[in-house]
């Protein structure tokens, strides 16, 4: 009986130690797992926050290209053109499960960017007054191939010359009237063929023979067709056709993943143009009243602030909103500004 009791006692002790030990161990394992998860989220949030400030800095430094090494993280960009409101369009960029809103920022890029670097570039968009700065994002794993013929040479050269200012971008140019169209498969993440050609004139079969078949959902190349000048024109994506006004918007189309992504950012820009134009219109009207009612010695200045100018500003804003951009109004304002300076009158912009 004595032996049995002591055996039970020893066994109870061990069971007690095991249970308590397991509880303590599971508590610390739980804490460690929770802490690891939190830290991972914190790191991802840190990366995304730093990228956000990098994008903001890049955006406010027009005509400056930057190459930045980043940790291995897949960046995803979304922008929904169909859900735009008075605030902007719902759009985000995310990495490691953390996302940041870019609701009002015009940001042109592919939907996904893999790799350990990011190329930021920004251009100012004037119509003719400054409306916004556009931010373009890509990396060295995305290749841009400019293909053009003699008929579309002018726009291709203008776009090519502007893009050449960004030395970090992987770019090639082919004039199909002077050289044979050929591509080398460099195993890039994505190859964007920018065709300054008539719509559909580039043989997809030929491109496939160089770059390989495209898998549905994991396309590694595409073709966009551009028809127009440096001032205005159309861009044809596989999912639709869009318009552009000015080289910064054309660049936006070249950097955008598809027509929806581009249209979404164009809508954000149109919203911004509405605010800016509103300010310029109010200022112009105020200056017009000032010269006609108060400073009548300089009544002649009101000529450069009159109805024609005010209409031009209104038409620019409404044109951007409706997608029917008339570049004549831009030219009108440019000329008006030049004449106003000659007469020592305040500029409209």
């Amino acid at each position: 009986m004595f032996s049995n009791k002591s055996q039970i006692d020893v066994q109870f002790n061990w069971i007690f130690i095991l249970i308590v030990g397991a509880i303590i161990l599971s508590f610390f394992v739980g804490v460690a797992v929770w802490y690891k998860g939190t830290q991972e989220q914190k790191i991802a949030a840190d990366i995304v926050t730093k990228l956000d400030s990098l994008f903001m800095t890049a955006k406010e430094s027009p005509k400056t290209a930057r190459y930045t090494e980043i940790p291995q993280v897949e960046l995803s960009f979304t922008c929904s053109a169909t859900d735009c409101s008075d605030y902007g369009c719902p759009s985000y960029f995310s990495g490691g499960g953390i996302s940041m809103s870019t609701e009002t920022e015009a940001l042109f890029t592919m939907r996904n960017l893999h790799g350990t670097n990011i190329i930021t570039w920004s251009l100012e968009w004037d119509m003719p007054y400054k409306i916004a700065n556009f931010l373009y994002l890509t990396n060295d794993a995305v290749r841009y191939v400019f293909v053009y013929d003699e008929d579309h040479k002018s726009a291709a050269h203008s776009a090519g010359a502007l893009l050449a200012e960004n030395s970090y971008i992987t770019k090639e140019t082919i004039n199909i009237d002077t050289e044979e169209f050929s591509l080398i498969d460099k195993h890039d993440d994505f190859v964007r063929i920018v065709a300054f050609l008539d719509k559909g004139s580039l043989s997809e079969a030929k491109v496939t023979s160089y770059l390989g078949e495209r898998e549905a959902g994991r396309e590694h190349w595409d073709i966009i067709y551009i028809d127009g000048t440096a001032e205005a024109g159309t861009v044809v994506y596989e999912d639709g056709e869009v318009i552009y006004a000015g080289l910064p918007l054309l660049m936006g189309a070249i950097f955008s993943a598809d027509s929806e992504f581009y249209s979404c950012n164009l809508q954000k820009t149109a919203l911004q143009s509405e605010f800016v134009s509103n300010v310029y219109l109010k200022r112009t009207k105020e200056l017009y009243n000032y010269f006609t009612l108060e400073d009548t010695e300089r009544l002649y200045c009101s000529y450069y602030l009159g109805d024609d100018v005010q209409n031009a500003i209104e038409n620019i804003a409404s044109g951007l909103k409706s997608g029917e951009i008339d570049y004549d109004y831009v030219t009108e304002l440019e000329e008006n500004n030049a004449y106003a300076v000659i007469k020592s009158c305040p500029r409209v912009y």
């Binding site: 008075d86 400054k130 911004q272 605010f275 300010v279 200056l287």
Partner: protein, 174 residues
């Protein structure tokens, strides 16, 4: 003799049981102390976290003020321009006045996206003394603000083509 042996065995069993009970008691006391220490640590950690989060809120408010200042600095609406080229840290006073009206038309956009929870005042100090409240979100008495953020600027008046010195004050509230 037999009785004596039995008694001794019983005594020994009791003594062993007492020893085992003592051991279990010891373990329980150690555990209780351990959990008391753990709870103390957790309370201490929570207190530190509360203090840190208060500091963090202040830091976020300061960062928001800087972000708003950055936004204003690059706002296409109010910057001085010469044929579209922006002059940095210069604001066209007529554009500022026009923006005041525009903000009234698009209050929700400017209040949410551009100047969240803030009061932005543009003050001219030389040669004219003037103050323009660009945006005021209408803070209540309970609102807490960090030290307002000030930045010097030049203010251009296109009516008579003159420049004033001034500063922008940005207050962020929570």
């Amino acid at each position: 003799m037999r009785m004596q042996l039995l008694k001794a065995a019983q005594e020994c069993t009791r003594c062993l049981m007492k020893k085992a009970q003592l051991k279990t008691g010891e373990t329980i006391i150690v555990l209780i102390i351990f959990f008391i220490l753990l709870a103390g640590g957790m309370v201490f950690y929570a207190k530190i976290q509360t203090y840190t989060s208060v500091k963090k809120v202040e830091e976020v408010q300061e960062l928001n003020a800087i972000a708003i200042e950055q936004r204003i600095r690059h706002m296409s609406e109010i910057s001085c321009t010469i044929d579209g080229s922006v002059i940095f840290d210069c604001y066209d006073i007529m554009k500022v006045e026009a923006l005041q009206e525009t903000i009234e038309d698009y209050k929700s956009y400017y209040g949410t996206v551009i100047f969240p929870n803030s009061r932005v005042v543009i003050t001219s100090v030389y040669p004219d003394n003037e103050e323009v409240v660009l945006y005021d979100y209408g803070y209540s008495d309970e609102s807490v603000a960090v030290e307002p953020f000030r930045t010097p600027v030049t203010l251009y008046n296109p009516r008579d083509d003159t420049y004033n010195f001034g500063y922008i004050t940005i207050g962020v509230y929570s």
